[in-house]
């Protein structure tokens, strides 16, 4: 049985008249078991769909690498797991089970694995790109199986050019909550923002695969990770007292994801935010609540941050507010809150800076990416620093003064963009 713990990091002391309470809550899961395996909290069944772009642009090295990667992924899917393979162009096609098969998904077993690989080998590129049709087919296939945990991998190499973007937005919204999806782009002709929309809504990750040869390793890792998530679906619950306002709820590690808008109301004081499946891992959440100020000396619970699995609260962290007139207590800033505030800002200034650069607004891009360089240094995010240095010439890291580099590689910008939401943990001093 999985074991969850919640740890709260905050400075609970507020100065007289202060109203805003910030806390980082670290939720850690251990003993999650494997998806569908012994010790799993799911009902014993999981489902996996591999969605591969088969549009005309995939022709050549990309298609061959993608086919190889899909076959490798199929090898990683555990026996007993419901699975399917979808090929996507301007329409979606069920590659396996074969289109004429009477079942939509099959339970993995050695025979099915070999047959699926044969089907994958016969995939041929052609047509345009309408990702909404791929997601809709995955959703339909998933809906036919009773699996508690549903996960998809989506691989594309191009822009979603065969449909209006509102179309994709609408379908994303329709399938949200039905399955989780990790999105991958190969090469430099796909659009980071499009795949990020998908992975954010579907509680997955987005990443760039620069070289087609690397797809197979990435797929194998993604499937392994999905298979290792023994806790099917959980939700983060945030209670705030009557009259209080939840300013935001943000996952801040391992990646920055703003959960605020994903709130569904559990009761008048408690909101629930989906977290997707859990393996043995740790995630950090930044919760900010505005409460009415109380007299110095008062104490109030500002938030209960809880993790619930199957409707049961399995762990709870208490965020407190204590009003004090002791400046030594109230002026201290929690290092965790400061760190993740910086990391969240880092993610947004990188994205805003790259967007400005793409739009030709060099002044804004310079300011934003300069700030990013400064924040990356302050929060010790070396990975972001080295990625930023491929885009900008750093004049003064401390002050965040930079010049935009000329003729940067598109791949470097995309790598910076996709990795922008990855955070580093607080360095324990």
């Amino acid at each position: 049985m999985a074991d969850f713990t919640a740890e709260v990091f905050q400075n609970e002391f507020l100065s007289d008249g202060a109203t805003d309470v910030h806390a980082i809550v670290t939720v850690t899961c251990s003993g999650a078991g494997t998806a569908g395996g012994v010790g799993s909290t799911s009902d014993g069944s999981t489902a996996e769909i591999i969605i591969v772009d088969t549009s005309g642009s995939m022709q050549g090295r990309n298609m061959e690498s993608a086919k190889h990667a899909a076959a490798v992924a199929v090898d990683q899917i555990a026996d007993g797991t419901w699975f399917a393979v979808v090929g996507g162009s301007h329409v979606a096609e069920r590659i396996f089970p074969y289109p004429n098969a009477r079942v939509s998904m099959v339970a993995m077993e050695p025979g099915a694995r070999e047959e699926a690989k044969r089907a994958i080998a016969r995939m041929a590129p052609g047509g345009g790109t309408a990702i909404s049709t791929w997601l809709r087919m995955a959703d339909e296939l998933f809906s036919t199986v009773p699996a508690a945990q549903k996960h998809a991998i989506l691989l594309t190499d191009g822009k979603n050019e065969s449909e209006a973007s509102v179309n994709l937005d609408r379908v994303i919204q329709q399938v949200t909550g039905h399955f989780q999806c990790d999105a991958r782009g190969v090469g430099d002709r796909w659009v980071v923002e499009e795949l990020r929309k998908i992975s954010t809504a579907l509680l997955g990750t987005v990443d760039l695969i620069a070289q087609p040869e690397d797809i197979a390793d990435d797929f194998a890792a993604l499937v392994q990770k999905a298979m290792s998530r023994g806790v099917a679906a959980a939700e983060l619950r945030v209670w705030a007292p009557q009259g209080a306002q939840v300013l935001f709820v943000r996952q801040v590690a391992p990646t920055v994801e703003d959960l605020t808008a994903r709130r569904s109301e559990l009761n008048a004081l408690t909101g629930a935010y989906p977290t997707g499946a859990w393996g043995d891992e740790s995630r950090d959440y930044h919760v900010a609540v505005r409460v009415a100020s109380r007299p110095v000396g008062s104490e109030q619970l500002a938030a209960r941050v809880q993790l619930a699995v199957g409707g049961e609260v399995v762990s709870s962290g208490l965020v407190k507010a204590k009003w004090s007139d002791d400046d030594a207590l109230t002026t201290r800033i929690s290092p965790e809150v400061a760190h993740y505030t910086g990391q969240a800002e880092l993610a947004s200034v990188i994205q805003e800076g790259l967007a400005a650069k793409a739009a030709g607004d060099e002044a804004t891009a310079t300011v934003k990416l300069g700030r990013a360089v400064q924040l990356a240094a302050e929060t010790g995010n070396d990975e972001a620093t080295s990625r930023l240095r491929k885009i900008v010439e750093v004049e003064n890291e401390e002050q965040g003064t930079v010049r935009l580099k000329r003729n940067t590689a598109k791949l470097d910008e995309m790598a910076l963009d996709t990795a922008s939401t990855k955070t580093t943990r607080v360095r324990k001093s």
């Binding site: 007292p241 009557q242 110095v296 500002a302």
Partner: protein, 434 residues
Amino acid sequence: MSDPTSKETGSEMSTDTAAVVTCPECGEVAAPGARFCEGCGTSLTPPAPDAGNGSGVTADGAPAPGGPPHPGLTARPGEVQEAAPPPSATVLDPDPDSGVVPAARPCAACGGRVAADGYCEACGTPAQSERDHFEEHPASWVAGVCDRGIRHARNEDAMALATGPAPGTSPDRFAALVVCDGVSSAPDSDVASLAASRAARDVLATYGPGGTPASGAPVTGGTSARIAGWTDALVASSRAASAAVVEAAASIAAGRSPEDPVREPPSCTFATAVVDGDLVVAGWIGDSRVYWLPDSGEAEQLSVDDSWAQEMIAAGIPREQAENAPQAHAITRWLGPDAPDADAHCAATVARGPGWLLVCSDGLWNYCSPAGDVLDLVHRVQEEHAGEPLAMSGALVRWANEQGGRDNITAALARLVPTGRDRGSAAQPAPAAP
């Protein structure tokens, strides 16, 4: 006391008691002196006085929420002391840091449900322990509220009230109101103050109607004889309170590891008023106060603080200046193992018209020191609460909290309506003929 360095010591309460108590609901064996079952939260305080010892005073001075008011002393109060466990055993105060609260009391701030994590489910206010806030209402004309306030981590004030069987309008009416304020620079003063207040109350009850004091006789006679008698009784009660503090200190010290000795013994103040017919006798040690607040006429502070501020006032420094000096709250007399003496100073007055007797700690009077200000305040809450003493005491505490609640707050009120037929001046009224 308003020593700003209020400490949060571990709750090393004395827990000796006479008998093992099991929860009537779930059968869980209760911790000694527990008011509520740890298992299911059922109140362990007997809903009615223990008939076995013939006493009207429960061992536990603080009534269970929603429980009936104390019916008052009925017979042989001398037995009360034997039957009652040591006062220090009647407190079960959960560590405020652990969040473990024995009682499922509704939230003090909004009335909402308190969750298992120790905070209100609606407004997030921390749960109050029984020790943090309690009320007593032994008769319709006597009530008091004792509250932690806002600034302090624990409630080191204590209060114990008792009344006689006669109604408040009778010439035989009797009440004893005891307020003790633990010195917050000394750890475990909350235990000491509660022990002291209950010991004093129980001693005073034995001098009241129908009582059998351990030494001397119940107070009777003419006004001057009774003033003398109550002065002796008040000194006896302050000595008993002192002994209770010393005993509590000893058991606290015994419960400590030798590496962590008690640096400062617990101590507390003492302010008491006895109502005997129309006569009011006050006794005090330290700076908790007794005020007589007539409906018409001059308000009067019966007690005289044993404090640095009072000494300065006596020396001619204006009250406001003296009471706002940094050392204003240093007290010159107190109860405790290191106290030079334990004899209450006393003063008496005879009520000539209806009015309120108020016994309070400095958590209240800090915000309204002059007797006239207290009078105005009490008259205001009297109007707002239709003269109901419990509601008024609660309103006084709330008012002090609204002023900042910098200290623990205790306010105990008795409503006096003089009969003019003071029992000492006439023959003892005969029992009503059938």
